[in-house]
């Protein structure tokens, strides 16, 4: 009996200890991830910034926190913010851009990285392969702010290499930061530049994990290189492709803010091809006279649709291949 009680006490102590370990992380998640979820009420309000209010409870007067008093004194407007959002002409543009670029990036990212991973794997010299891998991984470690300077080096209207080359050849000089046309290409190239190394390495790791005897067997059976890629490599990459695909689809309404904000220098004249939901939301809170409620509404839409997308994608994957599902 005493032994059993001792065991229960030990178990209790263990649980308490483990609970104390998750405490800091849980506290952080609660404050920075769960409390903001309640802040979504802003999307249904006409959010105003007011003077901090005071409340009296049981004879004690407390000064309310800024945010709390703003929330309490703002009027509820129902779905008005969403109506505004859907009516605004810029909304269509930013949704089109967000979705369009994402689809493009997902497809290109998949094709280029899988191709590069297969190529690297075929190289005879492993040292050469390693060198290529290291070099193409470099941009992944840089920020978009740094990348924006790199782009400036080439595109700056007065000193950039490309405008100068045009000038020297007597061609018409394109003012890149004020011309929409080239930006879908520039943004796509920038994205490929930064992300390819990362995903190539992911796929390459999966390819290196394939048993080489499978290739030898296929080769003895007379399978050409193409056939080997088609029937051995690609099927082995399926899980990885599916997992990355679900993750990307879940983020289809999100955009890489740094890419769309820093690389085009947040230039106003090319917004029709560079504005995404994220840059819109940021410009509204960072710029002057931003409308917090509208942007909260945009953010909520973004998160809800993202949530639905990832759920649907995961369900489909679960039906097709249960092991590949994310959860």
């Amino acid at each position: 009996m005493a032994k059993k009680n001792g065991k229960i006490a030990a178990n209790k102590k263990k649980t308490l200890m483990l609970l104390s370990m998750v405490l800091p992380g849980t506290l952080w998640l609660f404050l920075f991830r769960y409390v903001p979820i309640f802040g979504i009420v802003m999307a249904f309000q006409n959010y105003k910034i007011v003077k901090p209010q005071k409340v009296t409870i049981l004879g004690h007067t407390f000064k309310l926190n800024n945010y709390v008093s703003n929330l309490l004194s703002s009027d509820f407007v129902g779905f008005k913010n969403f109506e505004f959002l859907f009516k605004a002409p810029t909304t269509k543009v930013m949704i089109r851009n967000t979705l369009g670029y994402n689809v493009l990036f997902i497809l290109l990212g998949l094709v280029i990285s899988v191709a590069f991973a297969i190529m690297l794997n075929e190289l005879t010299s492993k040292l050469t392969a390693k060198t290529y891998q290291t070099l193409m991984f470099f941009p992944y470690f840089l920020s978009w702010v740094v990348a924006s300077y790199f782009v400036t080096g080439f595109l700056d209207p007065t000193r950039g290499i490309i405008p100068n080359m045009m000038r020297n050849h007597g061609w018409q000089v394109i003012d890149f930061y004020n011309t929409s046309k080239p930006w879908p290409f520039i943004l796509t190239l920038s994205n490929v530049w930064k992300q390819t190394g990362y995903s190539t390495i992911l796929y390459l790791a999966a390819i290196t994990g394939i048993d080489t005897s499978q290739y030898e067997a296929a080769s003895i059976d007379g399978a050409s290189k193409w056939q080997q890629i088609k029937y051995v490599t690609i099927p082995h990459l399926k899980t990885m492709i599916i997992i990355l695909f679900i993750m990307n689809v879940g983020k289809i309404f999100n955009s890489d803010f740094g890419l769309f904000y820093n690389v085009p220098n947040n230039s106003g004249l090319i917004k029709d091809v560079t504005e995404t939901i994220d840059t819109y939301v940021y410009n509204a809170i960072g710029g002057t006279g931003g409308n917090f409620s509208m942007t909260a509404a945009a953010g909520l839409m973004q998160n809800l649709i993202g949530f639905i997308c990832i759920m649907i994608a995961n369900t489909i994957v679960r039906k097709v291949d249960e092991d590949s599902a994310l959860f």
Binding site: P36, M119, L135, R159
Partner: protein
């Protein structure tokens, strides 16, 4: 004939044909060039004489070389070195704090005998799927919690990334055998003692991976400072954010140094603005460019663990 046969023998069995391999090399060389040439250009600009930039613009072959921009950067000190210090400080402190939170949380989740394991796994996982969005998060951080214009305002909002928790938990599960923890417990080792004396040494590679990813994230961060460091706060600006301010206002650094002394004010008169900006880019990228070839091994192993589903 014999020579060809010999050549083929030397190559791997089942290798691609030689023309194919040449083609692969060409593609790879072109892409790798694309990856590093922009940085080389920036280095060259930083060493270009301002006159050359004025005359022929940025170029891989400037008319004249100069270290003037570097000299100015070192003379103009204050704003620049302050930012350098800030970036290092935030990176080191942030990484240490993050790692402590990650290790504690992930370890508890990795323990199959933890009674509330599923609950806390879900709490961490859910925020990857749904969140309040930028505006409420901004309001909560700045207005409710009062985090702004301090190092904490940069460190705390990025203390935890749920994805890293999952990666580290998976690493603990796969690299630390349950028997090891059980044995320690039978020997009377307390939970914290077991974690830091036994589990952490075994799981070092996984912890190193998360630590490196976190350090890079802190070093490269510009968005959080942009949100929570106001324009009037000159003390807590990290390098990336300083660079961003200079993208909008080329003379930002000179203006802010000029306020510090007459000498710097003099220097501003003929400031090599263009190359100076690129000097800053070089200073930001240089530590990463030197270090990443050595630590990419850890990152790669981390990525491959991370791709194990949560």
């Amino acid at each position: 004939m014999a020579e060809i046969a010999l050549n083929q023998k030397r190559r791997r069995i089942n290798a691609v044909s030689i023309p194919a391999e040449v083609a692969i090399n060409i593609v790879m060389i072109l892409f790798c060039a694309l990856c590093i040439v922009p940085f080389i250009l920036v280095i060259i600009i930083s060493f270009s004489a301002e006159d050359s930039i004025r005359a022929i613009g940025y170029s891989f072959l400037p008319q004249a070389w100069s270290v003037a921009a570097y000299e100015y950067a070192f003379k103009l000190g204050d704003a620049l070195w302050r930012s350098y210090f800030n970036s290092f400080y935030i990176t080191v402190l942030g990484t240490i704090l993050s790692l402590i939170v990650y290790i504690l949380y992930s370890y508890a989740l990795s323990r199959k005998d933890f009674k509330y394991r599923n609950l806390f796994t879900f709490i961490n996982f859910f925020v990857m799927l749904f969140g309040g969005g930028l505006v409420p998060t901004y309001c909560v951080t700045k207005q409710l919690l009062g985090l702004s214009d301090s190092y904490w305002a940069i460190i705390i909002p990025m203390l935890l990334n749920p994805f890293n928790v999952i990666v580290l938990r998976t690493f603990f599960q796969s690299s630390v055998p349950d028997e090891l923890i059980e044995a320690a417990s039978i020997d009377g080792s307390g939970e914290y003692n077991t974690l830091f004396k036994i589990v952490v040494p075994v799981a070092k590679p996984g912890i190193a991976t998360i630590g490196l990813l976190t350090a890079i994230a802190y070093w490269n961060e510009w968005f959080i400072p942009k949100l929570y460091i106001s324009a009037s706060d000159k003390l807590h600006v990290p390098l990336q954010y300083l660079l961003m301010k200079m993208q909008a206002d080329a003379e930002y650094i000179a203006k802010n140094s000029a306020a510090m002394g007459a000498e710097a004010g003099m220097a501003m008169m003929n400031l090599p603005t263009q190359s100076l900006r690129m000097v800053l880019v070089v200073l930001v990228v240089f530590p990463i460019a030197c270090a990443y070839p050595f630590f990419q091994r850890y990152i790669i192993s981390g990525l491959t663990i991370g791709s194990v589903k949560g």
